[in-house]
Structure formats: structure tokens, C-alpha cells
Symmetry: C2
Subunit: 371 residues, 2 copies
């Protein structure tokens, strides 16, 4: 049984339990969902239907790509349904022999007007769209990586770490001078080592721009790693899975800059020390917020997030009252405390952590580099 079929079996079990007869997963522009890839191998741009009779139907935009990568019981090009989701659903219900009147679940990100269209056009079915349904269940399953995924992450982390070492070396030697030098170096070296590419647009911000959480533009021809705080946030995608790390380069810091950096390092150590099976992620994020608060500092973003086929996945690691995520072995996630000041610049330290039964394993080797 293929890994994709194996994963689908878990969803079929859940569907049987919940009495849902057909489920739609959708990965299209504006509504990206890597669960389609996780369940079928199809890298992007497809609909995937699963039926309670344990059959799958893949409807890809690019049929040639699907014949190479896709794994499903039935594959039909989207063009056969005029690339129209409601017509595709009608077609899938016929091909998968779904009986009238039963429950069909659509993604919780389905826009309200489109939801009304589904309900209107498929009024012989019971269309369900909810936050806590099969899609949430799939995200929960994806949050705990299986052995194959953990192996991929070890390789991705190895490449990321090799490139971190080279970045440090080349910044120290003066070979990397500008933000663009750093970003293009990562892009070229990552692909040379077998990566699919970067997991997101590399953010390289020299001292004048590091105050931005996400620098805009992401990188420029401006000097990098001069006097002050410079931030380099990047991820490498390997076999679909992305790492996500942030280095801070520090040179000739003022006392105010030194304080931002020291506090960030302290927050990182505190967070890492709290990682353990069964710990609520909100507790960890709240501890960091408290630490920063004691120095009258405020972190304007979450402490971390799961990583995987997308750069931001479950579990959430933030101090918000709707966050009830609890750490479990197999989860891979970032810790990324940071502080930002329009006068002094910003700093962030971010690594990727795998929680094993034995405790936290820091997969990546991002660090503060004092020049």
C-alpha cells in the first residue's frame, strides 16, 4: 500500500465514524491546501474527492503532471468539468456512486457565496462546511509527522545547516556583501543540493531595514551585515517540505541593540527549555511574552508554528485565547522570538524543532552571528 493510500485510509475511517459520504479537498489559486499533496502525491492545482466507499478521485488542472505524480483510484482532468468546482463535484458524486441525500463535506475555507452556490446546485445532497471537520482532522494528522516525513526533514535540515555555515563564512570573508547576495546564494546553493527551491521568499534585511518583521521588499541590493542588526529569514524546500530559520548578524552593537539581542536569545532558551510532550503551546508563548514584558518589550508576532508542506502549519504556537494546541512527539515546528525597533533595528532567532519521545531535538543550527 502506498504512503498516500495509507494516509487516505485514516480519513476513510474518520468519514465512516462521522457519517460523511464524500469529502472535497481543494488546492487551487487563492485556496491552497497541501492536504491534496499529502493524500495523493499531486503537487498542486487539483481537487481530490474521497468517498465513504474508500475510493479517491483526483481532478488535476494538468493531467500530464498528475500521471507522473498523482496517486488516486480515478484521475480525470479538470478540463472535463470546464474547470468549474461545482460541475466537478457533480461529476465526482456520479463516478464515486454517492447516493442522494447524504453528507458531502467541503473545505472550511470555502467562501460564503461559493458555499451558497454549492448548496443551490447540489440540493439533492447535504453540503457541510465547518471549522472542525475532516479538514481540521487532516491538519491534525499532518501536524504529527510520520517516519518518511521525519527522514525528509533530517535531509532538509542537513542542507539548511550546510548553507548556514557557508553563509556565515561568506559574510565573514566579505564575499556576501548585499541582501541580494545572501538571498541568491541560498537560492542557488539550495537547488544545487537537490532542494525544490526555497519554501518562501527569502527575507534579507540589513541594519536599516531589519526593524520590519517581514522586510519589504524581501531583499534589495542594499548592504547586509554592516554595523547594527541584520536579519536573514529563509527556508529550503526538500521533497515538498520546507525548513524555516532566521539568523541575526550583529556588528558593533549599541547598548540598546545589545539589549534587544540578549533578550531575544534569552527568550529562545526559555522557550526551548519548555518543550515537552503534553505542554500547551500557549503556555510557552505566554512565558515568552511575560519575559519580554518585564523589560517593557513586545513581540508583534507569534512565537512559532508547525512546518511541513506549507511554511505555516499546525500546531500554532501563540498566546491567543483560541489556541489549545498541545505538543506531541512527531511534531516539527519553529521557535522564533524576535524584537523590532524602528530606531535600533530588529533581531530574530528561529530554529526548527522536532519533538521526539526523548524530548526536543533542534534540527537546524540557526544562530546569532557576532561579527
Amino acid at each position: 500500500m502506498s504512503i498516500y493510500q495509507n494516509r487516505r485510509e485514516k480519513i476513510y475511517d474518520w468519514m465512516a465514524l462521522e457519517g460523511v459520504s464524500m469529502v472535497l479537498f481543494e488546492d487551487t489559486e487563492g485556496r491552497r491546501d497541501p492536504s491534496v499533496r499529502w493524500l495523493s502525491g499531486q503537487p498542486s492545482d487539483a481537487l481530490l474527492f474521497l468517498s465513504i466507499d474508500r475510493k479517491s478521485m483526483l481532478i488535476p488542472w494538468d493531467i500530464n503532471m498528475a500521471l507522473l505524480y498523482g496517486n488516486a483510484d480515478i484521475t480525470v482532468p479538470y478540463g472535463e468539468f470546464e474547470r468549474h468546482p461545482i460541475r466537478a463535484m457533480r461529476g465526482a458524486a456520479e463516478r464515486l456512486k454517492i447516493r442522494r441525500g447524504v453528507k458531502i463535506e467541503i473545505p472550511p475555507v470555502t467562501p460564503y457565496p461559493l458555499f451558497l452556490n454549492y448548496v443551490g446546485a447540489l440540493n439533492d445532497f447535504d453540503i457541510i462546511c465547518r471549522e472542525l471537520g475532516v479538514h481540521e482532522e487532516t491538519e491534525k494528522l499532518r501536524a504529527v509527522k510520520d517516519d518518511e516525513e521525519i527522514n525528509i526533514y533530517r535531509k532538509a535540515a542537513k542542507i539548511t545547516n550546510d548553507i548556514i555555515d557557508l553563509l556565515e563564512k561568506n559574510v565573514r570573508s566579505g564575499k556576501i556583501k548585499t541582501e541580494a547576495d545572501a538571498a541568491l546564494f541560498i537560492e542557488a546553493e539550495g537547488r544545487r543540493r537537490g532542494c525544490d527551491g526555497t519554501g518562501f521568499e527569502t527575507l534579507a534585511a540589513g541594519p536599516d531595514r531589519s526593524f520590519g518583521i517581514h522586510a519589504f521588499p524581501a531583499y534589495t541590493g542594499a548592504a547586509f551585515a554592516g554595523k547594527g542588526l541584520s536579519v536573514l529569514d529563509f527556508g529550503l524546500k526538500y521533497a515538498g517540505y520546507t525548513t524555516d530559520v532566521t539568523l541575526t548578524f550583529a556588528r558593533d552593537l549599541s547598548p540598546a541593540q545589545e539589549k534587544l539581542l540578549t533578550l531575544t536569545e534569552k527568550a529562545y532558551k526559555l522557550a526551548l527549555s519548555m518543550i515537552s510532550d503534553g505542554t500547551g503551546t500557549r503556555t510557552i508563548a505566554a512565558a515568552v511574552d511575560t519575559l519580554f514584558g518585564k523589560s517593557k518589550k513586545h513581540m508583534p508576532h507569534a512565537l512559532g508554528h508547525g512546518i511541513g508542506l506549507k511554511e505555516h502549519e499546525s500546531p500554532a504556537i501563540r498566546n491567543r485565547d483560541d489556541n489549545s494546541w498541545v505538543l506531541r512527539p512527531g511534531m516539527i515546528f519553529t521557535l522564533e522570538p524576535g524584537l523590532y525597533d524602528p530606531l535600533h533595528g530588529g533581531c530574530r532567532l528561529e530554529n526548527d524543532i522536532l519533538l521526539t519521545p526523548a524530548g526536543a531535538e533542534v534540527l537546524t543550527e540557526a544562530r546569532v552571528i557576532r561579527l
Copy 2:
């Protein structure tokens, strides 16, 4: 009056006409909407509220960035509302002095479950979420570029064309050998010329991979522009606006490859000849489908699309029964016929067209390059 305020005035007029008291535009992860940037200058990650009293309130994730780029009457960091959209809306209604019972319009991409949350939490207002509302109206306004935007596009096209010439030269000389060489060359040269970056991930596919509409991975270390058909699809983002072009490199073609390419060029010429004020875009796309159909070929994607702050904008240029777009002066859009064959490879020719009162002006100089 700033250009942003000018644009907001058009929305205020529309709100008055439609009796909508407050509107939310949202640009966040998973729900990107460049209308926020178009109306406020804020590059990304923010909520923007407009009130019928002609006031605007920007709620950015990164307050430092908003102080640099944002243009609004009131600016409050998202953190003040715990980065929670419903709390932000409640806060905006208070600050903008919105009376109870009136209409508040939210984006048409709002997920159904989130729509229910808005309605539940803000039951003292009339929450509207519809396909043909203020957001659609804004997209229609954005589809017709103003003079400032057309000037930006002329600069973006100039840079794109310079790089196209260099790409041709370097492929002919053998300096660009691999897909990654081509893609990284574009990335580096674009930024060197003042671009924000690429508008989307460059797709470079040598002969073995060009059958994919969007190659996967986007580019690799494999040979580019060898015997057969190679495709290079890229865009450069300048001052926020992206170009979008595709070159096909052809070398020692088989008769089947030659036929794919000749047909594609013929389709491109046919489409271009039909561009005029008042023409329905579906008519043009249908003519191309018919042309391909006569040779028993099928194009598996749309003929083109508007471009702007996003790589895919209005107008749609496709042969689908829900497409009623009509070309108007000021529109900037792609024409990109292509054919793909798993045995012979694929080809596509794509340029950016500005419709002026005098007719079609082809801004970019992408072409078929026969080696």
C-alpha cells in the same frame, strides 16, 4: 490629495450609492487582497476599513512598516485587537463611529464558518458577504489602470525586455546552460535594475519537462534549451506591479514539435488581431480554442488574464460561460496560448498587452527563439 485617497473616494461614492456604511478589505495569509495596497499603500498584511463618512482605518500587522508606507486617516496595530479579525472589526466600528443596524460588507472570499462568526459576534450590524459587491467593484476599477500605473508598467516592461534580450544572448552563447542558470539570472538582473523581485516563481523547463503547464519543480539544475522545446515563464515586479511573459526556445524540432509551435504562434497572432475596445474576452478565447480544435489540439488553460499588483487579475480572458469581461482602454493583460504534449514537450508564447484608445500596444517582447 494622494493617489490612495483619490482611489478611496471612488469607493466612498459607491458605498453611498449602495447604502453600505463600512467595508472591510483584508490582506492576510490565505486571503491575499492587493486592494489594500491599492487603496492605502500598505504593501501587505493588514485590514483596511472604509466608512461611509469617508474615513479610512488601517490595521497593520507590522506598525513600523505601516508608518513608512501606509496612507489612511487612522492607523492602529493589529496587536491591539489580539490579531483577531472580529475584534478588529468591533474596534473599527467604534473608532469610525458606525451606527448600529447599518450594513457592513466583508470580503467575498470570507470562509462560510468565519462569516457565521462575524454575524454572531456583530449581531447589532447587518453583515453582507456577496460576490458582486464593493470588492468586485474595486477589482473592476483596478482592471483599468490609471496613468501612474501605466507609467509603472512601461518601466517594468522596459526592464523585462532588456532581460529578455540578455536571456536570448546568454542562451545562444552557452552562458546560460541550465534551468537554474536562467531563473537565477532573471532574479539577480531584475533586482539589480530596481525591481522588488519576481512576480511569481520563475518557471524554467527544459525539453524533458516542458510538457507541464507549470513545471514542477519550477526549475532545476537540468539542461535548458537543448534539442526540442524549452519554456521560460517569468514576471518582474516593479513598484508592486508584475509583468508576466513566456519565451519558448526551440532547437532541432521534430515535425510534431514544429506543428505545436507553429500553431501556438498562429493562435497568438489571431488573438492579438482581435484585441479592441468593446470586444468580449470570451470571444477571443473561443476563437483560439476553435483554431486549436481544427488541428485536434486542446489548450488546457485560459488564454490570458489581467495583471497588476497580483499576477492574475481581472479581466479574465477565457472561454467559460461565466466570463462576461469586455476589453476597455487602460486594461493591461496577458495573451498566452500554449500547447503541451507528454511525448513532444510544450510551448507557450506570452506577452503583456495594454489596450490604448488607439488599439493594442504590446508592452513586452517575449518571442519564440529558434536556436
